[in-house]
Symmetry: C2
Subunit: 141 residues, 2 copies
């Protein structure tokens, strides 16, 4: 099963492979969109995995800290997503929350230059694209 991959990821970051963490991580790897901590917890419980909400939060924090997952922040509450470790941006569907990773990025130099013009250094950038995906376009009234 794909639990093996999750196990490897955890081991590589020095995190113990508990059933709860494996459940969180495999669910995030399966998910095509982003998801809140609460929704993830609910889904895992419905799927039969017994785990406390606090554990979900603690696991997500650990995974973010290790760079295994990203946090997305369009709506009012924080969402999480398993992403590639490389620099990338997100294209998210407004309707169904499906996320596509965009690896193409030519903004680094622009960001540096704009920052310099205003006396800023160490300028990092994030780009969020929001649209309506193919499925949701067709599903419209």
């Amino acid at each position: 099963v794909e639990t093996t991959v999750a196990r490897t990821v955890l081991a590589a970051r020095g995190l113990r492979a508990t059933p709860q963490r494996l459940a969180v991580l495999t669910e995030l790897m399966r998910e095509r969109g982003d998801i809140t901590a609460q929704a993830l917890h609910e889904r895992l419980r419905e799927g039969g995995a017994a785990m406390g909400l606090a554990t979900v939060y603690r696991t997500l924090s650990a995974l973010v800290e290790q760079g295994v997952i990203d946090t997305l922040t369009h709506g009012p509450q924080l969402c999480y997503r398993f992403c590639s470790p490389e620099h990338h941006h997100h294209l998210t569907c407004r309707v169904c929350h499906r996320v596509v990773e965009i690896l193409e990025c030519g903004f680094g130099d622009w960001a540096e230059a704009v920052g310099r013009q205003h006396g800023f250094v160490d300028v990092s950038h994030t780009v969020e694209l929001l649209g309506r995906c193919g499925n949701c376009r067709e599903a419209a009234d």
Copy 2:
């Protein structure tokens, strides 16, 4: 005083000019960075303006809805800022939270194209730049 400007802005959006709303708006116009609802409330009370926290929240919601202020979302909690009504991006100092509006933007076409490649339509984009501003660079250890 500059209250006049605030009064005009409120009138233009069909919002009644109460003392509380004028206080919120003038404070936001004065602020060089972004600020949370709680911090704004505290500052207004310290400044002698008597107002409830709920009113601050309600006023901020109304102003966001009318496009008078922007919400920024880097940290864990939502921040607000009085911004120009035109399309722009934000360059924020990691340390002191000073914000510079960046009106220059050449991403519209790129965003559309990237969206189209993945079957998305109506693609909007936001760019957030985070860096360290001149003052905070010098203030470093």
